[in-house]
Each structure stands twice: as C-alpha cells, then as structure tokens.
Symmetry: C2
Subunit: 167 residues, 2 copies
DNA sequence: TTTATTTTGTCTACTAGGAAACAAATAACA
DNA sequence: TGTTATTTGTTTCCTAGTAGACAAAATAAA
C-alpha cells in the first residue's frame, strides 16, 4: 500500500449516499429557503413560522388555534406561545366563541393586516431566489411534486399515513 | 349583514397562499420524512443528523470535522458536541493529523461501522414510505430537482449564492 | 523574525421547538 | 341525570440547534 492511512484529500469528498436520501435533500433545501427568507426579510423582525401563521389567519379569519396548529404542523404548545406573543405585539386578536368555550378564534388586527401585507409583498422575491437554480417549468414541477408528496392535493381530509400526526 | 362575524366554518379552510410557498412545502415534506425516519428507526437510538454524519464518515474516512459540518450544513458548534458524544459512545475515532494540528480527522470504529451498516439497511424502507404518494418516476424527478436546487449537481465547489454559508 | 490575518475547533449563553402533565369545556354514554 | 372520555389550550421541563466569543495553530505580510 502506497498510502499508509486511508485519508481523504480533504478537498474532494463523495456524497453518494447522501444524494440518495430524500430526507437529507429536503433538509438542505429547507435550510436554503429559510436562508433566502432571512436574506430578503432581514430588516423585518419576523420568522418563517410566524409569517405562515399570520398568512393563514388572514386567509381564514376566525380560524381556531388548533386548526392553525394542525394545518401548519406546528405543535400546540409552540402555537400557544407564538400566538400569545403575537397578541402582545398587537398583531392578532383572540376571542372565545360562545358555542365552544374551550376554543379560541383568531383574527388579524389592523396592525396584523398591515404587517402581513408588507411581508407577502416580498414573497415573490423569496420564491425567485429559492428556485433560482431551476427553470420555471422545473420550479412548477417541484411544487406539484411536493404538494402531492405532502398529501395536500387531496380534497378529503384524512390521509392518516402521516407519521407526524398527533394521535 | 347576514353573518355578523366573518367566521370560517372550522372544517373547510383555505391554504392557497401556503401552497405557493416553496419554503412551507419543503418544511412540511421534511417533517414528514423525519417522521418516517423515526417510525422505521424507532428502536434504534439515533437521530437523522447523526446518521448522515456517520454515513459521510464511512464514505470518506479521515474527513475533517469542519468538512462534515460544511457538507451537511451543520453548524460547527453543534458538530463539536455531536462528535464528542459519538466518540464517547465509541462510534467514531478522532485523530489529529501531523501536518495540521488544528484539524481533527474522523474515522468510524468497528462499532460505528456495524451501527451504520445496520441503519443503512433500513434506508430503502424509509425512502419507500417517504415517497409513497409519488410514482417511481415522480420520486426520481423530485430527487433530481432537489439536487439541482441545492447546487449538488455542480462538480465545482463554490456556488456562493448560498445564504446559509458561514462567512 | 515578528506581527497580523485566517482557519479550525470549542465553550458559553440563549432561543426555538418538543414531550408530557395539566385544567377546563364539551361530547358520549350508562 | 351523573359519569367517563375526548377535545382544546396552557404550563413546565427538557433537548437540539444557533450566535458569538474564544484559544490554538497555520498562513500571510511586514
């Protein structure tokens, strides 16, 4: 043996196995998209999760906290903290419906509306950067595949093969 | 006004805006894939990150800690903890090369080899579950698109439009 | 050589998120 | 009706991951 120790040259490494892992590819892609989010939103003091929450409430005024949690795959405990903070900041209003006094309905305040409007205005730029390496057709196809992968294309509710489901 | 408060019926909500967000779609997909990972690996005491680290070291014996960190997009601080723990568990061996005494080269121990072998044996099942909703052709296309999106198809090193880059 | 700059890994907070126990309200059931 | 089970949100504790300062070694510059 010419080389006594099997040491990689530190420049060229192989990632064969990694490329085969959908989980790894998804994780990296997600980290990149978050990076683009912060690059574009840098000055605004918001996080990706908060934005999706605000946007979902905007689209569904009066939606229940638990439904937001389920839709966005955010744990209820975390949602509880997040909403409390947003209420403190004056972005969302919470109200208890009279027909079910356990639940909490969420609506945006004026400030919340303004905030999410300002933010969504920058969405296209984030999307553009995120899929910059792809052709428009590839970007569209990627979306379609992810929607299908996530079971978001079904009109029916229960997919139930979802391992992240809280049972 | 017939309906005094614009309250959503709590069953049917719309997620129009969310579906348009690649970041959200990626996040949900990634959560699902992690869910499948734990469902299949349930009995083994390993996390997705640890598995990718072990697998990368197996493929590149003697790889430096920093290179693992960069390749897997794991922060160096976190990598430091992770490797220390793995060394304690007897899975990896660390050695300081004589030509650069700052660096640390990583190799798998016998136990590490056995561990990652047992784990990778279950990879196909995880992959199968993760892309169960897609046809084989769609799964392959999704991989291809993610690899391209992540810039992993380029042989050259620097992409540099990567916002997650530690500068 | 001496001095600055960069690289590499570690350490010390700090934050986001998760698990599990909990309380209150509702629903299901005898 | 009373009793049990489920749903809904909250609280507390814990872990994974991040940011930033740090030390040591290597490199570049004087």
């Amino acid at each position: 043996m010419a080389s006594p120790t099997p040491t990689a040259p530190a420049q060229k490494i192989t990632t064969e196995s990694l490329r085969g892992s959908l989980g790894f590819l998804l994780r990296v892609a997600q980290l990149r998209s978050f990076g683009h989010f912060f690059a574009v939103m840098g000055d605004e003091e918001v996080r990706p999760g908060e934005v999706t929450v605000l946007d979902l409430i905007r689209e569904n005024p009066g939606i229940r906290q638990g439904m937001v949690s389920k839709t966005l795959k955010i744990k209820r405990a975390q949602m509880s903290k997040m909403i409390r903070e947003m209420e403190r900041e004056g972005l969302v209003a919470r109200s208890v419906p009279e027909d079910d006094r356990r639940a909490i309905e969420l609506r945006l305040t004026k400030e919340g509306e303004a905030m999410i409007a300002a933010i969504t205005a920058r969405f296209p730029e984030i999307e553009r950067r995120t899929q910059a390496a792809l052709t428009p057709a590839e970007g569209a196809e990627l979306r379609r595949l992810l929607i299908k992968l996530n079971g978001l294309d079904k009109t029916k509710g229960e997919d139930s093969d979802d391992p992240d489901d809280e049972r």
